[in-house]
Symmetry: D2
């Protein structure tokens, strides 16, 4: 499979190198507004630098990876599927659900596959947990808990453009909750505070938040987020079921432990999302290539992207109004 | 210190034997509607069987332990403090907050000490965590999480008389959240479902529930409850703070672990609350005796009992109405 | 069952109070060379103070607990069984194996039960592991590992009278290895150094030691000891078998854990043998009383005491000569 | 740096691909007696297939990786250093210590760097532990424990040619013990049995073994090996020191844990040495390239290879004779 890459920034570079390292795929060309970023990745990946237009119009390219800024995603997805490409796009499709809907209509008409980069579904730990859940190891699902805490808050400038914590950070957890629940939430209630950095609060956003959701059958999901965890990048899931509890946790930097009079001390957990999710990014690409090759719709789909966005919007509204917000994802 | 015991059922027996085993306290007399329960505990504790009236009017008795059915608590507290006794009463004071307020007025007028049996504050693990939190080990508190899951649901008959899960079971977690937050919640949102036993739902109650609360300064507390955990009695707390995360967990039945091709298997966690909290019950009695002896107000106080009840009432209302409920505990 | 206690020091006090707390046994009388120790325990246990002779000649006493200094054990065992008592004696019977043999001959002739206080067999963790081993959970036993490390070294004066580390400290581990192997060692090789306290080396003893043993069928046991562990009282066992590995470890002071930039820190392990083995001492007494009542030979028996002593002697000799030492325990 | 690879079997393939994946090194040519193995690796690595002679006489090649059968190692090392190459050779240099000595003499005369593939020193966990040990975190070293258990025994044919468990398997642990002790052992005592596979015993070897060693200053090392662990590839180290205990353990396949009535079950540990030590192989190559580039002697050196071999020989002799064997590594 021949790939074009749009966007050679931090995450684009990861995906580009993952394609280049495969035996069954080639990174043919890449585009980036920054000449340096493009040239640097081209040098190590063997791809040529090209414009986005040239990539989309190159009929030898089967698939494109969209890793550009968020506000270009929907346009590029439309252009790429219209050019007959299979598309992998980093989350989110757009910060506006209505825009996402229009984009997905065009994707649907094109008949081309679209996959959204909710990488955590492909984390080996979370993926294994989900498979075991589906096999019934925990029985019927009752309570899903997702904990997600970043090592440190982003700059306020980033926060201002981000759409807010619920759309920028917790969107991963909304997708994870849906992935684990296997039933759509119908109601969202959110709390949020600026406890980490007052400047985030001054910018109208929160850095500490929690959400409760329920499904039609009464399953409960709880999510908590913080923009700062002193001990590393904290990513945990736990599912309480009728026959057992399944959980998956963090990875410590090493297995070394020291015991002294102060107690037993293990390492902090991996601190950086590119390190923690390195395996997830590779597995995500595996899944995309396999789905395209087997002419299956990849998951997570554009609809999954839309639904997570709707939950993030609902949480944002709930936090603003102080009231729970009903959502209707089943009909999407 | 000379003790009288009102109520010699399961929990009364625990407290009675704990008094009898001490060198600095004597269990003088005990009363129970069941002659057998009273006689059985009298035989092993060395106390005499008496009526509640006789115990309250015995001027040689300094303190009474109230372990009778909930609907007698408030009356007995009032009678006991009026008779000049120091009082330890099992939670809750009453299922009706207004009744609790009237009772606490009488206690206040009496000037006698009243302690409420929120035993979990005295669990050595939770107690150590709270002390370290107060010493600032985790920095400023941001998110408090409390998980509480019973091994198996109570009979529906019990559920019908219980006041509902929020007042019967989660009340412990409301107290724990207040204990850890060290700031009063101002808002409560609750979800609940009957997923474990449909008969509990038919009785108008829930067996699976989650609550979100926030304080005036924006601290967040999340609580989840289930009436059934296949793997034991699950009692965990976690506090995320600006400088660290403190957590305390369950106690496995033994430290034995087996590794085979199926993985590494540790024991289930302790299954029964009397086993899990045996140390807590002893430490709770220590605290009561020390406070009475030193003429300090014991904690948790009657006000703590009232506040937990108000939070449980708010959660019950939130679950019924689907809306968050504001509470004003600071003024109590 | 009516008990007399000989020796009211630290360990005698534990056993005496454990008897006194039971419903099915009474501590009738106790003797100690120290009047204060005897009087203090008598006051809290309800037993009377008496001479050893009076206790042994009191026909109303069924069983005696021998907790006196080591050099009196063999004489007191002989006197007690000759007086028709069931006997529980703290380890060791004697530091001289020949003396133990003579003592056990007299016990055998008396027909009275004798149990030796290898308390670790009764630790709930180790006991559960051994039961699961016997049920075949780990398959055939191949390697038994025992780790035993004290919090801090004893005074050199104590060391001089102790018989040396192998007889004073590792004797527990020899018994544990035999308990787990369920087959007698036939060879012992020992290394030892004075690394903790040079004064222990100057006194001719070691404070750091390791032993390898093998059984006739080729099973291997490894033991390591240190007189000092900065992180608490370290007591671990591990059995590698054909179908799995079973291990049991230490108990942390609490389940509290803190995560910060320095990592995840759990508490030290319980620091004191009386705390760590409190449950073991109670279970040990259960086993003694049950065996005497059911007219079964209690385990660990006098022979178990002798065999552990022979292994300790062999290790001592091996360390001195630098050569492995053959032992023949099957014939005892 | 331009590399030639001698031997393209399982481990040669790992090293070859690791070279090929680097930006600072090129795999120029490779040789293998099996045309298929050579061609397969050439195809994915971009190296050409050549004879060993051609590789050694190619003056454009700076360094060779020797991954051929053991009995060719010494000859190839000699030829390679004589041809002016830097050499990385898989362990062992030879099964005969005298042959190793002659080989190292030639290496010494050549002045070329030689590194031996004791990959475990480069495992991120063990490497981090060793660094912290050297920084004094555990204080003075007293007891070093190394546990090494393979998932399943090799074929008896392999065993017959292997030099025996001590030289084939435990040699890694001898190197690890030396690495951690930072002081040479002066005495070795070994026990061994064929408990896993009687055919291994019939072939004159053992599959279950334990070793005790001491250093001149009295530090103790204990090693245990089994050729079969039902629960994965078990690789653990623990160092007991005067101020603390440092340990590093296994890596579970995932962080998923399930709790049910049967207890809490974690995954087996990684089962295959190429998976467990994938990072170690990369770090080992880093160290070799850095040392050659900086004109430093790489570690582990040929002398480290010789010393581990001498310890393995001593253990083999000890097992055969039943006696401890003295070794003099300081003078090498």
């Amino acid at each position: 499979m021949r790939f074009g890459l749009l966007g050679a920034g931090r995450i684009g570079r990861i995906h580009g190198l993952n394609v280049a390292a495969r035996g069954d795929a080639t990174l043919v060309a890449l585009a980036d507004a920054s000449h340096d970023a493009a040239a640097s990745l081209a040098a190590v990946s063997g791809a040529k630098v090209a414009s986005a237009e040239a990539i989309l119009s190159d009929s030898s390219i089967d698939a494109v990876l969209i890793c550009t800024p968020t506000d270009t995603h929907a346009d590029l997805i439309e252009a790429a599927v219209s050019a007959g490409k299979a598309v992998f796009c980093e989350k989110p499709v757009d910060l506006d659900a209505a825009r996402i809907r229009r984009c997905l209509d065009i994707v649907a008409k094109s008949g081309k596959p679209l996959m959204i980069g909710f990488n955590r579904r492909f984390d080996p730990n979370f993926s294994a947990l989900e498979k075991r859940l589906r096999m019934g190891e925990a029985g019927a699902i009752e309570i899903v808990s997702v904990i997600s805490r970043d090592p440190s808050p982003p700059p306020v400038d980033y926060v201002k453009r981000s759409g807010g914590l619920f759309r920028d950070m917790m969107i991963h957890d909304f997708d994870m909750a849906r992935f684990l629940l296997a039933e759509e939430p119908v109601e969202v209630f959110a709390l949020g505070s600026a406890l980490v950095d007052p400047a985030i609060g001054a910018a109208g956003d929160v850095d500490t938040a929690a959400v409760l959701m329920r499904t039609a059958s009464g399953k409960i999901a709880q999510i908590s987020n913080s923009r700062r965890a002193s001990y590393g990048y904290d990513q945990r899931i736990e599912v309480h079921g009728s026959q057992g509890m399944l959980r998956a946790g963090n990875i410590h930097e090493t297995t070394v432990e020291i015991a002294t009079g102060a107690g037993f001390r293990a390492d902090p957990v991996q601190n950086f999302f590119l390190e923690r999710y390195a395996g997830a990014y590779r597995a995500e690409l595996d899944a995309f290539i396999a789905a395209v090759r087997d002419r299956r719709q990849p998951a997570p789909s554009g609809q999954d992207g839309l639904k997570a966005q709707i939950l993030a919007d609902a949480a944002t509204e709930s936090r603003r109004t102080g009231k729970p917000v009903a959502v209707a994802l089943e009909t999407i």
